[in-house]
């Protein structure tokens, strides 16, 4: 309905290869960015208390979007299931913690981005079995990663500087004189940092996925034998997927601890979280970047909304609502898988398609 594509023609391949070839889409993205950068940091979300809006909703959602992007690269684009996401985030978090204790004066954002590489390395290592084994067997491999790493986070005191509480506590760090991490950091600051990193990583993901490497991933996903006969080397395709995916998870893990939680123990990285992230991917849409946003936002906010609604309208015990939301999400997963295996993203796609050919039905 809002689309006016007549007269939008492409005279070069560069134009045709853009991420958003349609003008109206560009405008749409512009609006979203404007809201994200110019409105929310100052006014939060209408109808919600400012601190709550940022700390409890926006910041975690953005961070988990990064996680979901990462996991989606592995599951959605390359077709390799992983239940080790939580642990890979942990790797990012702990290595960032170590880095900042070794280089207290280094720019924390740089360290966060750097810690992703450690996660990438570990991810690639545990990705190795994927060359021999497929499907559910791979689940076992990733679970091995999950539990082994969890164990490391507990047993290897060096990782948390032998802190008796076994937790990692985030020190205060400044970037260009602005406090970014630690208790004293402004929510707005942390939000903006996270948002910027997310935008940056999204662009990169989008680029890779549309290029040679992204194609090799999707080839493996869609038909690995054909892919090989066309010349894709499974080793590189799969390992690169694992590495990139884990990098995203690692960065998001570091962000989670340093710009959101402030402190964390092994529980923040346990297998249940891995499931949560998998849900985000499934619900959002396998193999879709937009979907990663939707999935993360939905899975995270849904229980909160339920709880709020339950408390405010019917004054139901939050614990109950928690379980209700558990069930509800489970039901939704199943429902989505039955109705639209490609998740919210596909639904959005369909709506968009309808809008493009409006008023025609097809």
């Amino acid at each position: 309905m809002f689309y006016r594509e007549a007269g939008q023609f492409k005279a070069t391949y560069q134009e045709d290869l853009q991420a958003f070839p349609i003008r109206q889409d560009k405008i749409g993205i512009g609006i979203w960015l404007a809201i994200a950068y110019l409105y929310i940091p100052f006014f939060g979300i209408p109808g919600l208390e400012y601190g709550f809006a940022l700390n409890a909703i926006m910041i975690p959602v953005l961070i988990f979007t990064i996680t979901t992007l990462g996991l989606n690269i592995l599951v959605g684009f390359t077709g390799q299931i992983s239940l080790g996401t939580g642990a890979f985030m942990g790797v990012g978090a702990y290595s960032c913690y170590k880095l900042t204790s070794y280089f207290p004066d280094a720019n924390i954002i740089v360290l966060i981005l750097a810690s992703g590489f450690v996660a990438a390395a570990v991810g690639a290592l545990f990705g190795l079995p994927s060359l021999r084994i497929k499907g559910f067997y791979l689940v076992v491999a990733t679970l091995a990663a999950q539990f082994f790493l969890e164990w490391c986070f507990i047993r290897i005191g060096w990782l948390y500087n032998f802190n008796p509480s076994g937790a990692i506590e985030v020190p205060q760090r400044e970037v260009f004189g602005v406090i970014v991490t630690g208790a004293a950091a402004e929510p707005a600051t942390r939000y903006l940092v996270v948002l910027t990193i997310l935008v940056f990583l999204t662009v990169i993901a989008g680029n890779i996925v549309r290029g040679r490497i992204g194609r090799s991933w999707m080839m493996i996903r869609d038909m690995d034998i054909a892919a090989e006969l066309i010349g894709v080397r499974p080793l590189w395709a799969k390992l690169s997927a694992f590495a990139v995916s884990s990098y995203y998870c690692g960065v998001s893990g570091a962000l989670m601890v340093f710009l959101w939680l402030g402190a964390a123990e092994v529980e923040s990285f346990d297998v249940n979280h891995s499931f949560l992230y998998l849900f985000m991917v499934i619900l959002g849409g396998l193999g879709s970047i937009t979907g990663s946003y939707m999935g993360a936002a939905f899975i995270w906010t849904f229980p909160i909304i339920l709880k709020e609604v339950g408390k405010r309208l019917f004054d139901i015990d939050p614990i109950v609502m928690e379980n209700v939301s558990l069930v509800a999400i489970g039901v939704m997963i199943v429902f989505i898988l039955i109705k639209e295996p490609h998740g919210l993203a596909r639904l959005w796609q369909l709506i968009k398609q309808k809008l493009r050919i409006w008023p025609f039905p097809h």
């Binding site: 040679r212 194609r215 869609d222 892919a227 066309i230 894709v232």
Partner: protein, 291 residues
């Protein structure tokens, strides 16, 4: 739609430009005036077994540069197995495969691709998550070299490379007349078109040897004629060597320069379509069955 070869001006065949042929001893000229080059691939006494089952028994034949070579036979004659041997996907227990003057060791599938052998599949093996153009682009995978860093930024070299190969693919799309479905997800395409897209993908690899596994299976007459025309045009335009499997005799007889006939893994005959059609063993084993 008529076949390209049917209305060529025959007497003035000018030979294949570009890749000229190395040993003229084995060259020959086809009835429609194309000069065929030397041996590009040779199968020597191939025997292939699955456990106890013998799929191919002591088969030997060669494929010449620039020719269209057909392997035919009733169902279960071991055609597909043979293609998989040529393709290097199966490794015969006995016999040797020589490709471009070298004895071929057992290789990984992607090494075969790197050798310049492309193929299509009997039951289409397209990448269903992608559109037509994306599928064709996958054919360029081996030729795209820009590293991860550039891929990440998708500017400068990476973008130039993408554009360059996109152009090549568009040429193929144009050649196979599938412009109208350029950006359609392949899953939603009718069977005939999917086959064409798969051919496009194989062509995008610019193969030295192109293997077609029953390219016309399950097509109606018109689609078959189109496909034959495309196969001929490909062979003529790009001088591509083509080896194809097909059980529809009539089609093969139009297309192929030389034909190998298999039955129960054994070679019944090898020669020009006419020779093969006259061969009694073939008539009994095959045509007899057909008519």
């Amino acid at each position: 739609m008529r076949c390209a070869r049917s209305n060529r001006v025959n007497d003035h065949g000018s030979g294949i430009e570009g890749e000229q042929v190395n040993d003229t001893a084995t060259n020959y000229v086809t009835e429609d005036g194309r000069t065929i080059g030397g041996v590009i691939m040779e199968m020597k006494n191939i025997t292939l077994r699955f456990g106890g089952v013998v799929a191919i028994k002591d088969a030997s034949f060669d494929i010449h540069e620039g020719e269209i070579r057909a392997i035919i036979g009733p169902n279960g004659a071991g055609k597909s197995s043979m293609l998989n041997v040529i393709n290097g996907f199966y490794h015969p227990q006995e016999g040797e495969v020589w490709f471009r003057g070298e004895k071929r060791p057992s290789m990984k599938p992607y090494e075969i691709a790197e050798q310049g052998i492309a193929r299509t599949f009997q039951n289409i093996a397209l990448f269903h998550g992608m559109t037509t153009i994306e599928n064709v682009m996958t054919g360029r995978q081996l030729m795209m070299k820009k590293n991860f860093f550039w891929q990440m930024l998708r500017v400068g070299p990476a973008l130039d490379e993408e554009v360059e190969h996109r152009r090549k693919c568009e040429e193929i799309i144009d050649f196979l007349e599938i412009q109208a479905i350029r950006k359609t997800p392949v899953g939603s395409l009718p069977y005939g078109l999917q086959k064409r897209v798969e051919l496009a993908r194989a062509l995008a690899m610019e193969p030295k040897l192109l293997l077609l596994d029953e390219p016309m299976a399950g097509m109606n007459v018109e689609e078959k004629e189109d496909m034959s025309r495309f196969i001929l045009d490909v062979n003529e335009q790009y001088g591509t060597t083509i080896a194809l499997i097909e059980h529809d005799m009539s089609v093969v007889m139009d297309l192929a320069d030389r034909v190998v006939v298999l039955d129960y893994g054994k070679m019944l005959a090898d020669g020009t379509p006419d020779e093969v059609q006259k061969n009694q063993a073939v008539i009994d084993a095959y045509l007899g069955v057909e008519h």
